[in-house]
Amino acid sequence: MGTQVFYFVATLSIICSLMVVFAKNPIHSVLYLILTFFTFTVHYVLLNAQFLAVVNFIVYMGAIMVLFLFVLMLLNLNKESEPLKSPLIKIVGLIAGCCLVVTLIGSFKAASINSPLVLQNQGLGLVENLGKELFGPFLLPFELSSLLLLTAMVGAVLLSKKDEVES
């Protein structure tokens, strides 16, 4: 039962993420991305990682994608107003994509997954255990990443402030 659900949802996520790339309309693209994130939430639930599932739901689907949609609606992109992409950007994109593929293949080979991964602690994804892990052994990386996010936020505010002063 669990495996079947997994394969069904995994197929859905692949189809949706392909549609993100192939959809002509940027808004449709974002909507497919939202569906992709929803299937990820289901994957987390299947892994018994309830907290991660709900946080993925709130943060990615409920906040970040709303902002994406918001910006796209404001821009109102269509064929006439879409800026033409120069061939240089396309080449750069191609190279970056190839690099990502090589990295992914490399990491898959390094991990050499022959036997399926088994979660050692079934309850790891529950709030209490996850919190203990995050604020115990992983305290430093956790605090550092939050500092990084804060820096990005301050930077964004600073950039938007500068424009205001000039105009």
């Binding site: 909507l31 309830q50 739901f57 709303v66 949609l69 918001f70 609606m73 529950l126 709030v127």
Partner: protein
């Protein structure tokens, strides 16, 4: 999974769904009656005694109206918008504990569809998802006013979600759990969270006004600037879905407020009532108490709507970002200090 469990949950879901729809239906009637009362009018009084059949008449009218889909609209998303709005409004009821477990034929039946241990976050996720119905509908209508309204709704929801989340954090510091069932059980009798978290409750309530797009924060459907807002192009039952979704949202957020801060199905003297009524009827009495609280909150929603004028958009943003968020953060800090102090001594 055994069949009895599935049947039990199915009946519970059906009953809750039916009740939410009936409450939403009669909220439209109550809204007009409350408005009439506050403005010294009579309100609807033609259909049935005191006009109590008015919601039925309104429903029939909605169904009978002509269905119009604008030519330039994105047809699929235009239809998906109201459906999504109603769906998101309804699924919030799944984690609310409506009453303490009830004994039916020697079997203890929990009056909660799903006791997930991240219940509070689930509610929060559903609330944040609710804006998609408005955004997709507003965009798919291909109308400038609808689009403006969709954008307003999105930015308003995002802004007030932050303050809402922060106000919940202070509450969670006290309860030490994310499960709504446990949170309600902790508030046994008259030990309600609102007494310990008055500021948190105030922030949460203001935010839920904004999240449900109710006056004084109903900027997305501000008639004076945006015609009808995101549902300008909608007619017939699709418009009805949007209106219904608003009332169901109001019902769900009233239920959440009652559950988180006002003790849910708990009431003073419940132990005495439990011995008096027995294990079958006492939980039902608790459910009635919860609904009484919900009705009070819904009345409060309406009272505010017909009393306070709509905010200006910059006032709304200022209130959200410069007043509510700092207050919520201060509330978290004070709560944290007090809890640390109490634990130490």
């Amino acid at each position: 999974m055994d069949t009895g469990f599935i049947i039990e949950k199915f009946i519970l879901v059906a009953v809750i769904f039916g009740i939410s729809l009936v409450v939403a239906m009669y909220s439209t009637y109550a809204e007009r009656k409350v408005a009439a009362f506050l403005q010294d009018r009579l309100g609807p009084d033609r259909a049935g005694p005191f006009g109590i059949l008015q919601p039925l008449a309104d429903g029939v009218k909605m169904f009978m109206k002509e269905e119009i889909i604008p030519t330039a609209a994105n047809k699929f998303l235009f239809i998906a918008g109201p459906g999504l709005a109603l769906l998101c409004a309804c699924i919030g009821t799944a984690v609310i504990p409506w009453g303490s477990p009830m004994e039916i034929g020697g079997k203890l039946v929990p009056l909660q569809v799903a006791d997930i241990n991240v219940g509070v976050l689930y509610i929060f996720g559903v609330v944040s998802l609710g804006v998609y119905g408005v955004m997709i509908g507003g965009w798919a209508s291909n109308n400038k006013y609808s689009l403006l309204s969709a954008i307003r709704a999105a930015s308003q929801n995002i802004s007030y979600e932050i303050a809402m989340g922060l106000s919940i954090i202070a509450l969670l510091l006290m309860t030490n759990t994310l499960s709504l069932k446990t949170i309600v059980e902790q508030q046994h009798g008259f030990n309600w969270n609102a007494w310990y978290q008055p500021l948190g409750f105030l922030i949460f309530m203001i935010c839920s006004f904004a999240e449900t797009n109710r006056a004084p924060f109903d900027l997305p459907e501000c008639e004076t600037e945006l015609i009808g807002g995101y549902h300008t192009e909608y007619s017939s039952m699709k418009l009805g879905f949007y209106l219904f979704a608003e009332y169901i949202n109001m019902f769900v957020s009233s239920a959440v407020m009652a559950t988180l801060y006002f003790g849910g199905y708990n009431y003073p003297g419940m132990d005495y009532m439990a011995t008096l009524l027995g294990p079958t009827w006492a939980p039902l009495f608790g459910v009635a108490i919860l609904f009484l609280k919900i009705v009070c909150f819904i009345f409060f929603f309406m009272w505010v709507r017909w009393t306070i004028p709509r905010f200006r958009y910059d006032q709304l943003m200022n209130l959200g970002w410069k007043v509510l968020i700092p207050l919520a953060i201060a509330n978290i800090i004070v709560t944290g200090i007090v809890i640390a102090f109490v634990e130490k001594f």
